[in-house]
Amino acid sequence: MKNIALLFVAVTFLLIAEGCRRSEKLDDNKPTIALVLKTLNNPYFIDMQNGAEAAAKRFNVNIIVQAADREVDVEKQMQIIENLIQMRVNVICVAPSGSQEIVPAILKANEADIPIIAIDTRVDKNVLLESGGEVLSFIGSDNKDGGKLAGQFIVNELGKSGNVAILEGIPGHETGDARLAGFYEVANKSENIKVVVSQTANWERDQGYNVMQNILQAHPEIEAVFACNDMMALGAVEAISAANRTGEIIVVGFDAISDCRAAIKAEEMHASIAQHPEAMGRLAVEYALKVINGESIPDEIPVGIELITKENL
C-alpha cells in the first residue's frame, strides 16, 4: 500500500515537471502576448490557437494560450486573466465566455495597465461603459450577418414554405443571440417559413444529438435545421442518420470546422457559415504587437464571413 502511494506521488510530481517542461519557455527579452480562449476542446478555438501561434513565431514574440476546461466557466476564465496579470504580460487577447461576466476581469487588467483586445465574442458595451472599463478593439466576425446568410440559404432551399427547427447555443451568449437574430430577420420576411421548435443544446455535440432526436420524435414534419454552431449541427446530423432520414432534412451549421466540411462533402449536411478562426488568431497577435509598439488600432477589425456549401468547398 505504502509503495503504491509513494509510486503515485512520484508519478504526480513527474507529471507536473513534464507539464512545466512542456510549457512554453518565455524569453524575457521579447514581449509577451496572452490569448485566453473559451475552451480548447472545440476545433474552432484550436484553429484560433494555431493561427496565433504561427503569427507569434513569425513576429518573434512570446505567446501564452490558456483556456478554461469548460466553455461556460466564466469564473475560471477570470482566474486565468488574474494570473496573467500577475505575469505582467504585455497584452491580453480574450474570447469572453460571457459578454457581461468578463467585465470585472477587464477592469482588473485595465487597473494593471494591461491592454485588452476582445476576439470572437464582443464584450457587452453597456456593462463595460457603466463600469468604466476599456477594451481596445474587437476582432471577429459579425455573427448577425452569418445568421442572415444561414437564414437566406434555408429560405432558398425550402422555397416558399417549410418547417424549421433551431438548435440554440447557451442562452445569453452574445454570439448565439446575434446568430439567431440574423436568422430570424431573414426567416420572418418569408411568411411561410415557420420555426416550429427552438431548443438549446448548449453548444455541444452530444446534446445536439439528444435534442435533435427528441425534435424528430415530436416534430417529424421538420424540413430544415439551423444549429447555432457546428458541434450541435454534427450531433443533429447523427440523430437524423440514426432515424434514417439523411438527406431529407437540410442541416445548416455555423463555424465550418473541418468535421463539418467533411459532412458537407458527404452530403450529410448542407451548409455552414465559415468564420476564420485562424485569421482571428493571427490578427489578434498582429494588432497586439501594434499596441505594444505604441500604435493606435481601430476599435473594430472585421474578419470575413462566408457561406460554405458543397459548391465552394
Binding site: L15, G19, Q66, Q86, G98, E101
Partner: protein
C-alpha cells in the same frame, strides 16, 4: 510535550500542510511570478469560493454523507440573490434571501435523507438537477448582470490591504471550526459518522442533526453564491457546474474520510489552498488546461492513497 501532542493529534493535517509547502517551493523555483504578495492574495481570493463550499461538504462528509448538489444550489441562490438586487431590495435583504434559498434547498436535502431515508447520494443527485433546473427556469436561462457598488465591494473591497472575500472566508472557517469542535452539534456530527446507530441509541436526535448539517451546507453554498455573483458582477444559472467535485476534493485532500467520523476544517482549508495553488501555479507556467486536469486528479488520488496507508500503519 505540547508540541508532541500537536503533532500526534494533527498528523494528517500537518502532512497536507507539508504537501502545500512543497508545492509552493516547487512553483517558487519554477516561476518568478509565483511568490509575490499580490499573487498570494490572488490565490487566496481564487480559493475562497471552493473553500467556503468545502466547509459544508466537510460537515456532511464527517456524518458519512455526501452532497452533490452544492454547485447547483449555488447557481440557484445566485440568481435569486441577483433578482432581489435587481428589484431594488435593500442589500441585506438580498443577501439573506440568497443564503436562505441555499438553506432551503439544503433543508429539503436533509429532510429527504433523515426522514425520507434516502441515501445522501440519491437525494442530493436529485437536488443537483432540481436546483439547476430551478435556476434556469427562474432566469429563462439568461444571466442577470450589473449591480451596485455596495454589492461589488464584497468581492472588490479591501480592508487593511486584504481582500474582503478572504476575510469572510477566514471568518467562516473560525465560526465553523468553533461549531465543529466546541458545540454539541459538532460532537454529534462526528458521532453520527463514527457510529450512527450507537449515537441514536444514546439519545441523540440523529435525524435533526443530519438535517441541520445539510441545511448548513446549503446555506454555505448560498454564501458562496454571494461572492461569485459579486465577483463576476453577474449571476449565471449555469454557474458552478462540477464545483461539488472541487469541494469534495478539497475536503478529501485535507484528510476528511469519506467513511465518516473523521476530518478537520484546517485540513479542508489546506486542501482547498492546494487546489488553488496548483491551478494558479500551472497557469503561471503556461501549462495546458488538459495537463492541469490530469495533475489535479492525480493529486486527489495521491492524497487519499497516502491517507489510507497512514491509517493502516496506525492500526
Amino acid at each position: 510535550m505540547r508540541l508532541n501532542n500537536l503533532w500526534t493529534t494533527n498528523a494528517r493535517q500537518l502532512g497536507t500542510f507539508f504537501g502545500l509547502l512543497l508545492l509552493i517551493v516547487f512553483f517558487w523555483i519554477w516561476t518568478p511570478y509565483f511568490l509575490t504578495i499580490s499573487n498570494l492574495l490572488n490565490i487566496a481570493q481564487q480559493t475562497t469560493i471552493n473553500a467556503i463550499i468545502a466547509v459544508g461538504l466537510t460537515f456532511v462528509i464527517i456524518t458519512a454523507g455526501i452532497d452533490l448538489s452544492v454547485g447547483s444550489i449555488m447557481a440557484f441562490s445566485g440568481v435569486v440573490l441577483a433578482s432581489l438586487l435587481k428589484a431594488d431590495q435593500p442589500l441585506i435583504v438580498a443577501l439573506i434571501g440568497g443564503v436562505l434559498t441555499g438553506g432551503l434547498c439544503g433543508l429539503v436535502n436533509g429532510t429527504l435523507i433523515s426522514y425520507g431515508k434516502l441515501p445522501p447520494f440519491i437525494a442530493t443527485l436529485g437536488m443537483m438537477s432540481v436546483a439547476r433546473g430551478a435556476a434556469l427556469l427562474y432566469t429563462d436561462g439568461r444571466p442577470i448582470s450589473g449591480f451596485s457598488a455596495d454589492f461589488r465591494f464584497i468581492s472588490n473591497g479591501e480592508i487593511l490591504h486584504i481582500p474582503v472575500p478572504v476575510l469572510l472566508m477566514v471568518l467562516i472557517y473560525f465560526i465553523a471550526h468553533f461549531i465543529l469542535t466546541r458545540t454539541k452539534l459538532g460532537r454529534y456530527t462526528y458521532a453520527i459518522g463514527g457510529n450512527e446507530l450507537a449515537t441514536m441509541l444514546s439519545g441523540v436526535n440523529v435525524k435533526m442533526i443530519k438535517t441541520v448539517v445539510y441545511t448548513l451546507g446549503g446555506m454555505l453554498s448560498g454564501f458562496a453564491a454571494i461572492l461569485l455573483t459579486s465577483r463576476l458582477n453577474s449571476a449565471q444559472p449555469i454557474a458552478g457546474i462540477m464545483y461539488e467535485l472541487d469541494a469534495i476534493a478539497a475536503a478529501v485532500i485535507g484528510g476528511t474520510s469519506l467513511v465518516g467520523g473523521e476530518g478537520k476544517l484546517s485540513g479542508t482549508l489546506i486542501g482547498a489552498l492546494i487546489m488553488g495553488v496548483l491551478r494558479n501555479g500551472l497557469n503561471l507556467l503556461g501549462v495546458s488546461s488538459f495537463i492541469q486536469q490530469i495533475v489535479i486528479g492525480s493529486v486527489i488520488i495521491c492524497a487519499v492513497l497516502i491517507d489510507m496507508s497512514l491509517r493502516k500503519n496506525k492500526s
